[in-house]
Amino acid sequence: MKDYATTLARKPLPVGKLIIHLIFIALCAACVFPFLVIIGTSFQSENDIVRFGYSILPKNFTWDAYRVILHAPKTLLQSYFVTIATTVVGSIVGMWVTTTYAYAISRKDYRFRSFLAFFIFFTMLFHGGMVPSYILMVKWLGLKNTALALILPYLISGWFVMLMKGFLQTIPEAVIESAKIDGAGELRIFAQIVLPISKPALATLGLFFALQYWNDWWLTLLYVENDNLMKLQYLLIRVLKNMEYLNSAEAIEYGLVKPGMLVPSLSARMAMCILAAGPMLLVFPLFQKYFVQGLTVGSVKG
């Protein structure tokens, strides 16, 4: 096998490739730039922001914004804990439920396969809507202000099941049959043969679940009133909404803004954003290699 680097050095890049590279570089910059601005802004002082606008390299570097947010770290730490706990529990349980369901409907020799496949597919097309699901969660299951309310609704989704099923169907039936002939039971086949084969798909699914639970604020908004169960992203939304509200025409007109009222500063909002998104940024690269493999589910791999 030739060393790719040396070929690269000897042959000039064809123009087409160069253009594609440039397009991707531009795309990358477009993704990274806003984030750099947020990071830069979070180290600026309030007056500098108003005076010079947002910038990647702050003129006067300051930790003030982080000091303000971490001044009362209890709420933040608590919401970190809630977010991490729901993400871990939700991802693990969700993956288990999704994978078992998907495996069952991927097996051609399973009797209720088409019915169950349709059953989950149907939820992708129609859903009851917000109010019925709220009534179910709050009135029937009594889950208002519980951690379960932050986990349960996302445990299974048609889209994830279909994705997983698509992957599991690529496992040759012969593998499963030969295991059967060797005397393995269904559980053993699933746990010792199917799961190890589908590692890339599982990693992908895990990432999807983790992202979903990490970034979720909607469930907090619907089902939680207790400050100790707030998720991180919801705190962020809260900070932004508060500022919106204090600047609304009504609030100004009816004098709801009282002297000495705490309004989160621009840089504090940015710092909050960094603290909320940071951990995911660190986790993502670790998943990256599986991710690429897992997403090519169904296409031919050489």
């Binding site: 309030e46 007056n47 108003v50 005076r51 606008g53 001044h71 009362a72 088409s114 019915f115 349709f118 149907f122 129609f126 917000m130 109010v131 709220y134 009534i135 709050v138 009135k139 698509g166 169907q169 907090t220 908004l221 619907l222 009133e225 919801y234 939304i237 809260r238 900070v239 932004l240 909404k241 508060n242 500022m243 919106e244 509200y245 204090l246 600047n247 609304s248 025409a249 009504e250 609030a251 100004i252 007109e253 009816y254 004098g255 709801l256 803004v257 009282k258 002297p259 000495g260 009222m261 705490l262 309004v263 500063s265 621009l266 169904g298």
Partner: protein
């Protein structure tokens, strides 16, 4: 991925789908019928007859059973921490007088609207709720049948309330002849004011007291532009600009539609010549560099104002002759001059109100509680300011007196606050750093002398033109930042363009609907 299916399973799939779909339509059909039956638009049926047969029942027997009351309201400040202590203090009184216990459900602003919608839709039981013309909208709630009509309850248990509420305000909360909420005492016609940075006014000897219109600001702005390179002459952001740009003798009915107090006509606000002239002036200011180049993408009026970078700003909600209000809110010495008083409208009278839920299990006790708040100064101020020593300190007198002077904690130390007008009787507020007794007196006088709009009590029902309003609002949402900051290259073209776009969005249909409803209302009210 795609596998050849046997004919058998295909058939199953098809008929299965068909059956499912059919079932769904039937279910959803039932649903919509049910909805139609349970909420006749605009005339809610109280879930229980409010007036009992026993007219002679004494209060003792009526408060025999101990009950718990819940009250939903938005969080006034973000870091509310002392709720248990405040509730315990308030419940001492409530338990003794009414044999009841109050729990406040404070929802932060991020979730308030959505949560209340869901709670109403799900029919969750609760007792009291904060409702205004804009936040947890009173008209939406009435339409959904979420509120209880209060007439009988008020007569029976609400004597303090009836004595204290501005009699004109009942009109604003009356739907189909029924009182649906209790309007709070609040500034009904908050004065608009121009705010100037004090040191600059002194430096350039500007006669700020003589500013009557936004056009009068020109010489001062020009001076600042010329001599103060570090300052921006006029503060405008996407959601606020110079005071006085709103036309005080026009009362808004629906977005973009207003009632002219002078000739009693309903007009499209963009068609009013004065309105156009004002925005033209703002555009002129922008072109001359009096307004920040990127004003249209700034959304944080308060943060901008606090930065002290601007020479001229708008009021922070009201007017004080010595500029003390804006000085306190913006955090540097300022002076103010009055730009005008809006007419008292249905909206301003419902800028804070309390209602009783149709799902309340104890509406009588809820009304008694409101009545107690409107009668007991100590209870009201405890709920608003918090607990003595923890959330406020007494400066003179004692908390048991009628009128002590207190100092409420503020800034990052503040862990409790509910604004008095959210609870109801603002004029019973103790003298404090929030409002001095003098300021309250001034507000009250303002209300009493305020000119009520000619359409007070007229409530526009947007239902028939809901789609048009949504479209109009969408256009406005996009255009308002540009309009308020004057940041368009060609004003004339932009303005006529905007008029045309709004007309395309269905402005005329809304206008016709408003006119129709107004005529009907007028016929029934004259």
């Amino acid at each position: 991925m795609i596998r050849a299916k046997t004919k058998e399973s295909k058939k199953w799939l098809l008929s299965g789908t068909a059956a499912m779909l059919a079932a769904m339509f039937i279910v959803s059909g039932c649903n919509s019928k049910e909805n139609a039956a349970s909420s006749p638009s605009g005339s809610p049926e109280p879930s229980q007859p409010a007036s009992q047969a026993s007219q002679t029942a004494s209060p003792e027997s009526e408060t025999k059973d101990f009950v718990k009351l819940s009250w939903y309201m938005p969080k006034p400040i973000d870091n509310m921490k002392d709720q248990d202590a405040v509730e315990a203090e308030a419940n001492k009184i409530i338990k003794e007088k009414l044999n009841a216990e109050l729990h406040l459900n404070l929802i932060d602003n991020a979730g308030w609207e959505d949560k209340m919608k869901l709670i109403s839709a799900a029919g969750e039981p609760y007792d009291l709720v904060f409702t205004t013309f804009a936040s947890n909208r009173i008209s939406d709630n009435v339409q959904k049948g979420a509120l209880l009509p209060l007439d009988d309850l008020l007569q029976k248990y609400g004597q303090n309330i009836l004595a204290k509420v501005d009699p004109r305000a009942w009109k604003a909360v009356t739907y189909n002849g029924k009182i649906m909420a209790i309007p709070a005492q609040t500034p009904y016609s908050p004065a608009g004011a121009h705010v100037f940075k004090k040191d600059l006014v002194e430096k350039y000897q500007f006669d700020y007291k003589n500013v009557k219109s936004i056009q009068d600001l020109e010489p001062f702005l020009a001076e600042i532009k010329k001599n103060e390179p570090d300052m921006i002459p006029l503060l405008a952001t996407a959601n606020g600009t110079a005071s006085g740009i709103t036309l005080y003798d026009y009362t808004t009915i629906s977005p973009g539609i207003s009632y002219s107090e002078q000739d009693g006509k309903i007009v499209k606000i963009l068609d009013v010549a004065q309105n156009k002239a004002n925005y033209q002036t703002i555009n002129d200011f922008y072109k001359k560099g009096y307004i920040a180049k990127d004003a249209a993408i700034k959304t944080d009026y308060l943060a901008e104002a606090k930065s002290g970078k601007y020479a001229v700003m708008r009021d922070s909600g009201g007017y004080t002759e010595d500029g003390s209000k804006s000085t306190a809110t913006y955090g540097f010495p300022t002076v103010e001059t009055l730009s005008g008083y809006p007419t008292i409208s249905t909206n301003s009278m419902t800028s804070a109100a309390s209602a009783i839920s149709a799902t309340s299990k104890n509406p009588e006790r809820a009304m008694m509680l409101l009545n107690l708040i409107w009668g007991d100064k100590y209870l009201l101020n405890t709920l608003a300011y918090g607990v003595e020593g923890k959330n406020y300190t007494v400066k003179s007198g004692t908390a048991q007196d009628a009128n002590p002077t207190i100092e409420a904690t503020s800034g990052s130390e503040q862990t409790w606050a509910i604004w008095h007008n959210w609870l109801g009787p603002l004029w019973d507020q103790w003298d404090s750093n929030w409002n001095s007794t003098a300021a309250l007196e001034a507000m009250k006088k303002n209300n009493d002398n305020g000119k009520a709009s000619g359409i007070l009590g007229f409530i526009f029902n947007p239902e028939p033109v809901k789609n048009e309003i949504a479209q109009v609002s969408a256009v406005q949402k996009e255009a308002n930042p540009i309009l308020t900051t004057g940041s368009m290259p060609d004003f004339e073209k932009y303005y006529t363009d905007l008029q045309k776009r709004l007309d395309d969005a269905g402005m005329d249909k809304i206008l016709a609907e408003a006119q129709k409803q107004f005529d009907a209302w007028k016929a029934g009210n004259s």
